[in-house]
């Protein structure tokens, strides 16, 4: 696992020095959010907030995760990673973790903007909201990281990543939106319990699947 830490550390140092992924991701989220607000009736917008939040997050997030693999292609960095004595499963865990962190930072900004633009009231149970988001981000990162390793090698990669991930992401979208809606309406962890359990199961299954299957995707 120390290999995973090293790669995660490398990704985070790179991100702290350039702030490329986060700034691009946040800006993309702002633009998608603005597009939504112009397309919607501002009156009922607060009710649509959970849906807007997750759709914005997913489409911007797909770009960010694809990018996390594209940067490795420069100067043959990817071959360096593959040649390093790091287990492939650990490589997946590190990439997924760095994506979780970048997406988590961006999600905080997105939630703030959502509250500002759509007039969403502050939640009564902030911890519950945090839990929904953490579980949603982990599940999304697990699945998207696994498939970004595939799409980065394909010619139509911008097209293929959403095609590969969106159908499989349906359970996460349903559960994350429903749980967010309950929590934003003042619900607690217990009232969103069933959705959170499915989300947690989703996270465990796809993190484990990614950890085990990643080796099959990156072998040369």
């Amino acid at each position: 696992m120390s290999g995973a830490w090293r790669i995660l550390h490398k990704d985070l140092v790179l991100e702290l020095r350039t702030r490329e992924a986060t700034s691009g991701l946040v800006l993309l989220m702002v633009l998608i959010l603005l597009t939504f607000t112009f397309a919607m009736d501002p009156e009922g917008a607060a009710e649509a907030a959970p849906a807007v939040q997750w759709v914005t997050f997913i489409f911007a997030g797909l770009m960010a995760i694809q990018r996390s693999f594209l940067v490795e292609r420069e100067n043959g960095a990817w071959y360096g990673l593959l040649l390093s004595p790091v287990d492939r499963g650990a490589l997946f865990v590190a990439k997924m973790a760095s994506n979780v962190i970048v997406l988590g930072v961006a999600q905080v900004v997105l939630m703030t903007l959502l509250a500002l633009f759509l007039g969403v009231p502050l939640p009564a149970a902030p911890l519950a909201l945090l839990l929904v988001n953490v579980l949603g981000i982990i599940g999304f990162s697990a699945l998207a990281t696994l498939f970004a390793a595939i799409s980065v090698r394909l010619r139509a990669r911008e097209m293929m990543l959403p095609l590969l991930v969106l159908p499989l992401l349906v359970p996460l979208v349903i559960c994350a939106v429903e749980a967010s809606r309950i929590v934003m309406d003042g619900g607690t962890v217990a009232s969103a319990g069933v959705w959170l359990r499915v989300l947690a199961t989703f996270d465990v299954i796809f993190a484990a699947a990614g950890w085990m299957l990643f080796e099959q995707l990156v072998e040369e």
Partner: protein, 234 residues
Amino acid sequence: MHRRFAPFADRVLPPAATIAMLAALWCVFVYVPNERIQGAVQRIFYFHVSCWWGAYLGFFVAAGASALYLWRRRVEHDWLARAGVEVGMLFCTIGLVTGPIWARPIWGSWWTWDPRLTMAVILWTVFAVYLVLRSAGREDPEITRYAAVLAIVGILDIPLIRISVRLWRGMHPSVISAPPGKGGLDDPRMVVGLLVSSIAMVLLFLWLLWLRYEGLRLRDWLYRLEDRMEEAAR
């Protein structure tokens, strides 16, 4: 394995599937009685439900064969996986078309976001992407591995999709598991009709799976022949 199985499949599957399909058609149009409330429209049920056998069998065969391929790296398993998805998609599409034909007169709308319908359409998209991924003519070995991973992850997703769409909303009739007299198959002839249709569809599925498998095997053989000709020409 192939050599022993091939004559059996070639000789038994086509006539068996044909006879079973004719029997199923007879059952559906002649043997079973009209449903009391829905009338003749209900007869589409026998083929509609049976189709899902083919779809789910195809997808599960594909996932199993994909796992075997990743483990053993034998190209035969990849042919089987691909054939499973292709034939499964055919049955899934027939199911998705016959459903709305029934739903329009009975529910009054072509489509609803009922759990089973939602699940079916999500599965259809998952494996449609599988076919898009593999749409290149002659593919690199890594695409084969990618497709295998997609088929496995797709099957892993099924229980999660099932749970979440059920929690999300619920109007599809549960015909087979319904208690007697409450929307189930009240007439024993209806049970026979469903059983015969299901057998016919499973046999048709096996036959088509076999044909696709053979097609992929021959295509691979052709590719290798092309390679040898190119080498010889050099």
